[in-house]
């Protein structure tokens, strides 16, 4: 058991690719219901961190625990409670929106896949296109459907990797609305983004990852947006680590 009731605990997380360090010892605790927005320049290790948290990558060292489950020891249990939204849609182009959702619902052993798919199609405003093939969808529609896909298992931990990339205004608002509602329902959210405005508006914690290190982490309530913007710009310009 952990020493406190941290919902998500990352300790000493390291990862390198061909000798190049992508993550250089990340430590992070999140409580249930926290919404962490993580910023950082390109190549800072944000996507690597998300992929390790999602069990898609093995860490070089360190651990990730959710509700005291070690993700490496219990990957299936861990993944059953996880949702991921990326700039990739994770959707099958040759299947309809409904077929995609029903397929994923069945994989996650949702009790009534058809009903869950119908419910989520309504939630993302795609009921009228439920039986159209995904290949005919616009980028915004695909991203709305991918939001529905990520929510299919009603995840307790949601990981978002640049979810606003390529979204139009209405799809961005829809995503922000869903994130707010999930946060209201005490879901824990980790979002990697370059979008300062959207990243700050919903977050309860804000962090900056630079050169594989978590160099900045503060509660949103304690944060002065101007001071944060200034700090972020410094890291974007490549200020050496302290």
């Amino acid at each position: 058991m952990g020493s406190s009731a941290a919902f998500l605990r990352i300790k000493g997380l390291r990862k390198s690719y061909d000798g190049v360090d992508a993550l250089r010892g990340i430590d992070l605790d999140l409580e249930m219901g926290d919404f962490l927005s993580l910023f950082g320049p390109n190549g800072a290790g944000k996507t690597t961190l998300i992929r390790i948290m999602a069990t898609l990558l093995k860490p070089g060292a360190g651990t990730v625990r959710v509700m005291d489950f070690d993700m490496e020891e219990h990957p299936e249990e861990f993944r059953a409670r996880l949702g991921v939204i990326s700039h990739q849609s994770f959707l099958y182009n040759d299947l309809s929106a409904r077929e995609n959702l029903e397929f994923y619902a069945a994989l996650y052993r949702v009790a009534d896949p058809a009903a869950r798919a119908e419910e989520l199609l309504g939630l993302v405003g795609l009921s009228d296109r439920a039986d159209s093939k995904v290949s005919g969808f616009s980028r915004g529609m695909q991203q709305r459907l991918s939001i529905a896909r990520a929510l299919i298992n009603d995840p307790v931990l949601l990981l978002l990797d640049e979810p606003y990339t390529g979204l139009d205004q209405s799809a961005s608002m829809l995503l922000s609305g869903h994130l707010r509602r999930l946060h209201d329902r005490k879901r824990t959210i980790v979002m990697v983004t370059h979008d300062l405005k959207r990243g700050l508006e919903a977050a309860t914690k804000v962090g900056i990852l630079s050169r594989g290190r978590l160099v900045y982490l503060k509660d949103r309530a304690e944060l002065d947006p101007r001071e944060f913007e200034h700090a972020y710009l410094r890291y974007l310009k490549g200020v050496p680590d302290a």
Binding site: T55, L56, E76, R79, Q88, L91, D94
Partner: protein, 223 residues
């Protein structure tokens, strides 16, 4: 097995809609049969083993076309990540993809083998039920190895080139056995003449099912 069947069903539904893989496999296999028929001389009497060689070259080369597509389809929109993110065990994904490759091969063979009899003579159609058994056993061997190797190459840039380069050396023994047994069938030899080779074909499929099942997770996941 439930998850493997779900994934396989999804793949078969997508193929039923587009018919990309099977149509190209059948067309390519048929072209090979025709070209090899011209190469050996139209109407020339072939011995059983040579005819079996022609049949298996056409089947295996056409099967490689479908093999590459089954996993590369999952790379579109990074759907493979979504499968790996789900509670499904990677071994179930391997079982599903092996099943799909097996079915694609079987469907292509259902067209190519009758076409072979038409082009090369129905005198080879002597022990058809046993030929079906041989074909299904070879399909198991090919799809178990092929699925593993297509997973290895699916993430590479030169997937289509790399897959046959890696795969063919491994399946050459299977191909040789298939030719030997099928040649025996075409010559109408008694079962005892080729039965030992048949067991080796079955063992090949069994061994590579185990190897694929154990290794697939390490192959499909990023380090």
């Amino acid at each position: 097995m439930r998850d493997a069947l779900l994934i396989a069903r999804k793949d078969l539904l997508a193929e039923y809609r587009k018919k990309e893989s099977i149509v190209s496999m059948v067309f390519f296999g048929f072209l090979l049969l025709v070209m090899l028929n011209i190469a050996v001389g139209v109407g020339r009497e072939l011995d059983g083993e040579m005819a079996a060689g022609i049949l298996w070259v056409s089947i295996i080369f056409s099967a490689v076309l479908g093999l590459g597509r089954v996993l590369s389809k999952e790379k579109e929109n990074r759907c493979i990540d979504a499968l790996l993110l789900s509670p499904v065990e990677p071994e179930q994904i391997y079982a599903a993809k092996t099943m799909v490759n097996f079915i694609f091969m079987a469907v292509a063979e259902a067209v190519l083998i009758p076409a072979f009899f038409v082009l090369y003579g129905d005198r080879f159609a002597r022990q058809v039920p046993m030929l079906v058994v041989v074909v299904l056993l070879v399909n198991i061997g090919f799809s178990t190895v092929g699925t593993l190797f297509s997973a290895i190459t699916a993430g590479t840039r030169r997937n289509e080139v790399l897959l046959p380069l890696l795969l063919f050396p491994v399946i050459t023994p299977l191909m040789a056995l298939a030719v030997k047994v099928t040649g025996g069938l075409f010559e109408d030899l008694p079962y005892r003449e080729y039965s030992s080779w048949l067991y080796v074909i079955a063992a090949f499929g069994l061994i590579f099912s185990g190897v694929g099942y154990l290794l697939f997770e390490f192959v499909i996941k990023e380090g």
